[in-house]
């Protein structure tokens, strides 16, 4: 009886985690945004900077570190979302993981982009206050829309679904990057 009770509690805890397909969809959204940002900046740096003083091998090395770093941050993001899903009531987050997770991913990463537009001086985030307000308002508005509008929900789900294709590109690229990094540090 006791074991059955424990199992039941355990299962209810597990239910707070979304299904694998839902996790993959939301992860794909994070991957798309994070890799797009990193690749865009790498291309920008390549044109304006790297090509001036790095050879091809060094540029590939630099790109590999950035791709590996982006993979790490994509994992951090999805684990953070899973943690949120775990601590919040199931009905609030886990049951609507694709919509809520995608919305949160977009508003969170979007607000960081906004923060960087304000200032990013040598890694110091001077406008963290403005960022917090922007993030809180945008998250609230989008969550509200997600709750009220079926149309909005369908759009968010469609975005998450279409992002999955990037999972076939970016994570394998990161794997290759890690091999490159390993080779550069052992040779």
């Amino acid at each position: 009886m006791f074991i059955k009770e424990r199992m039941k509690r355990y299962m209810s805890l597990l239910n707070r985690f979304p299904k694998r397909e839902q996790i993959i969809s939301v992860y794909a959204v994070g991957v798309t945004i994070l890799y797009f940002w990193a690749a865009l900046n790498a291309v920008k740096d390549f044109i304006s900077n790297w090509s001036l003083y790095l050879n091809i091998s060094e540029m590939l090395g630099l790109f590999s570190y950035i791709m590996a770093g982006t993979f790490l941050e994509s994992l951090l993001l999805i684990f953070a979302l899973l943690f949120i899903s775990f601590i919040l009531p199931q009905k609030v987050f886990a049951d609507k993981f694709i919509v809520r997770g995608t919305t949160l991913t977009i508003t969170f990463l979007g607000s960081i982009m906004y923060l960087y537009q304000l200032t990013l001086t040598f890694g110091i985030l001077e406008n963290i206050g403005k960022w917090s307000i922007f993030f809180a308002i945008s998250t609230f508005v989008f969550m509200l829309l997600g709750g009220l509008s079926q149309f909005f929900t369908r759009i968010v789900e469609a975005i998450a679904d279409r992002c999955i294709v990037f999972l076939y590109i970016y994570p394998p690229l990161s794997l290759v990057s890690m091999i490159v990094i390993f080779a550069r540090n052992v040779s």
């Binding site: 945004i33 994070l34 940002w37 990193a38 900046n41 790498a42 740096d45 900077n49 090509s51 001036l52 003083y53 790095l54 060094e58 090395g61 630099l62 570190y65 950035i66 770093g69 982006t70 790490l72 941050e73 951090l76 993001l77 990463l109 960081i112 982009m113 923060l115 960087y116 990013l120 040598f122 890694g123 110091i124 985030l125 963290i128 990094i181 550069r184 540090n185 052992v186 040779s187």
Partner: protein, 511 residues
């Protein structure tokens, strides 16, 4: 055959006279070394971004360097010493290799010296006789030292004397340090990684906030954008402890300490903070330059005051360091060289040194040498530059000076005063290191005259000259390029500059 003109005669005459004077002015210790066969210790202290123009040692009206002035009373003081570039990479590279930027090609942001010159450095040429220690708080300079690491016995971490340890990056990717470091910097500090840089920013700010010390109400001194924060006292105590350690060795030592102050952020301690804020010093307002960042005069004045206070703080610490070394008797057998990698400017709408401008504040740097046994002040007004340090140090150490060195031994240490000498310094951070420069600023200084050449910038600075008479106009306020009176001098300087540029381009094309 070319005629031996009156000018040639004067040149030879001056050189001969200079040589004779220099020979009589050799410090006793240098002469001693030649007799007793012992090699002296040599300490080089490079203060990042220290312009000679803001030092009271060189006549600046704010009393920024009373200790250096005192040290100068028994030192060799060079009044017209120039960096070979206007920021860390070219400036430090030239100082350490004795090569001009267009030869070593370390001209870009975190650039490096061309592979074929990686053994062309002071550590290598000093040979095995010397124990060689190197330290820098500047990460870009660290890349360079890392390039020379095979010739350095002890390369200290950039955070060796810091409150926080940013040395983890140094240790994790030893074999691929430069690229790994650059990737980490781009990801964490320039926002290339959206999330990691955000997390780092939040973490970094919180961490720094917890270690604000009472002595630094406006924030601790910080090196680069890393979490490499330190106190001036710890930094200089650390340096003096290392020197004491080195002095216990059997073999002579050469130590290179490249400290980050007075580079921005300017963070003087409580005792120096605001010391020049409300004084009666009024900097000369200069017209904003097209290539400037557009800083207002009042913000430039504020920054200048902070910088000057930071200089006074460093000066005090240098005075303390030298006093300690004297007390321990180390300076009795050690040369102590104080210089900088480049200058700093607060004029024409530009602050700092990451600029295309090459006016005096950003290229004119201090050079002060304490020689063992020397008891009097020696002032030199002849033009010298950073590439002269390598041959001078090798000369002091009794090592062979490579023929490929592009500098000359400093007058006072075996070199001659050559009034006909030209100094060429340049910046080309937006040009490729692998090709002839397409965007660059050159400064050629000869006697009292200075010619600036801008190439590849916007508007008229696509191809533009400025000319100054530094004796009549040390503030470079009046461009006399179009004055007929100077036409011949300008033409000669242009020719010299173009010849040097052509030669450099040929070298690149031949590689």
């Amino acid at each position: 055959m070319k005629k031996f003109s009156r000018r040639d005669f004067l040149k030879v005459g001056w050189s001969f006279l200079g040589g004779s004077v220099a020979a009589t002015m050799l410090p006793k210790s240098t002469q001693m070394n030649k007799t007793d066969g012992k090699s002296p210790n040599i300490i080089v202290l490079v203060c990042d971004a220290m312009t000679a123009r803001n030092l009271s040692l060189y006549g600046y009206s704010r009393k920024t360097t009373p200790n250096l002035e005192q040290l100068a009373e028994k030192a060799f003081v060079y009044h017209n010493h120039y960096a070979n570039g206007n920021f860390t990479i070219p400036g430090t590279s030239s100082l350490l290799t004795g090569l001009r930027p267009w030869t070593h090609r370390a001209i870009n942001g975190p650039g490096k010296i061309r592979k074929e010159f990686s053994e062309h450095n002071i550590f290598h040429f000093l040979g095995k006789k010397y124990f060689k220690l190197a330290f820098t708080q500047n990460y870009w300079a660290y890349y360079l030292l890392n390039q020379f690491s095979a010739d350095i016995n002890s390369l200290l971490s950039s955070s060796e004397f810091s409150q926080t340890n940013s040395g983890t990056i140094d240790q994790k990717f030893k074999k691929d340090q430069r690229i790994a470091n650059q990737a980490i910097v781009q990801m964490l500090y320039y926002g290339n990684s959206l999330l990691l840089s955000f997390i780092n920013g939040v973490y970094y700010q919180a961490k720094i906030d917890t270690i604000q010390l009472e002595d630094y109400p406006a924030g601790l001194p910080r090196a680069n954008y890393y979490d490499n924060v330190f106190t001036m006292k710890d930094l200089f105590d650390g340096i003096s402890d290392k020197i004491l350690e080195l002095d216990e060795r059997e073999s002579p030592f050469f130590s290179y300490f490249h400290i980050y102050p007075p580079h921005n952020p300017y963070s003087p301690s409580k005792n120096f903070m605001g010391m020049f804020e409300n004084d009666d010093y009024e900097p000369i307002a200069k017209k904003e330059h097209v290539l400037s960042i557009g800083a207002t005069q009042s913000s430039l004045n504020d920054e200048r005051s902070q910088y000057d206070a930071y200089l006074a703080n460093i000066d005090m610490e240098i005075g303390r360091l030298v006093a300690k070394l004297k007390e321990q008797g180390i300076l009795d057998h050690t040369y102590f060289i104080i210089t900088a990698d480049h200058g700093e400017m607060f004029e024409r709408g530009t602050n700092g040194h990451f600029t295309g401008l090459m006016y005096e504040p950003v290229i004119k740097i201090p050079l002060l040498i304490l020689a063992p046994g020397n008891q009097e002040r020696r002032d030199f007004f002849v033009l010298t530059n950073a590439v002269d340090l390598l041959p001078t140090i090798l000369n002091l150490a009794g090592a062979e000076i490579p023929a490929s060195s592009e500098g000359s031994v400093l007058p006072g240490f075996g070199g001659v005063e050559d009034p006909a000498r030209s100094i060429i310094t340049m910046e080309a951070k937006e040009s490729s290191a692998f090709k002839p420069f397409t965007k660059a600023t050159y400064a050629i200084i000869k006697g009292n005259y200075k010619l600036l050449y801008y190439r590849g910038y916007v508007h008229k600075y696509q191809d533009y000259f400025e000319f100054y008479d530094l004796q009549d106009d040390p503030e470079e306020l009046y461009d006399k390029y179009s004055k007929q009176k100077f036409a011949e001098i300008i033409s000669g300087m242009k020719q010299e500059l173009f010849n040097a540029m052509d030669e450099a381009d040929k070298k690149v094309a031949a590689r």
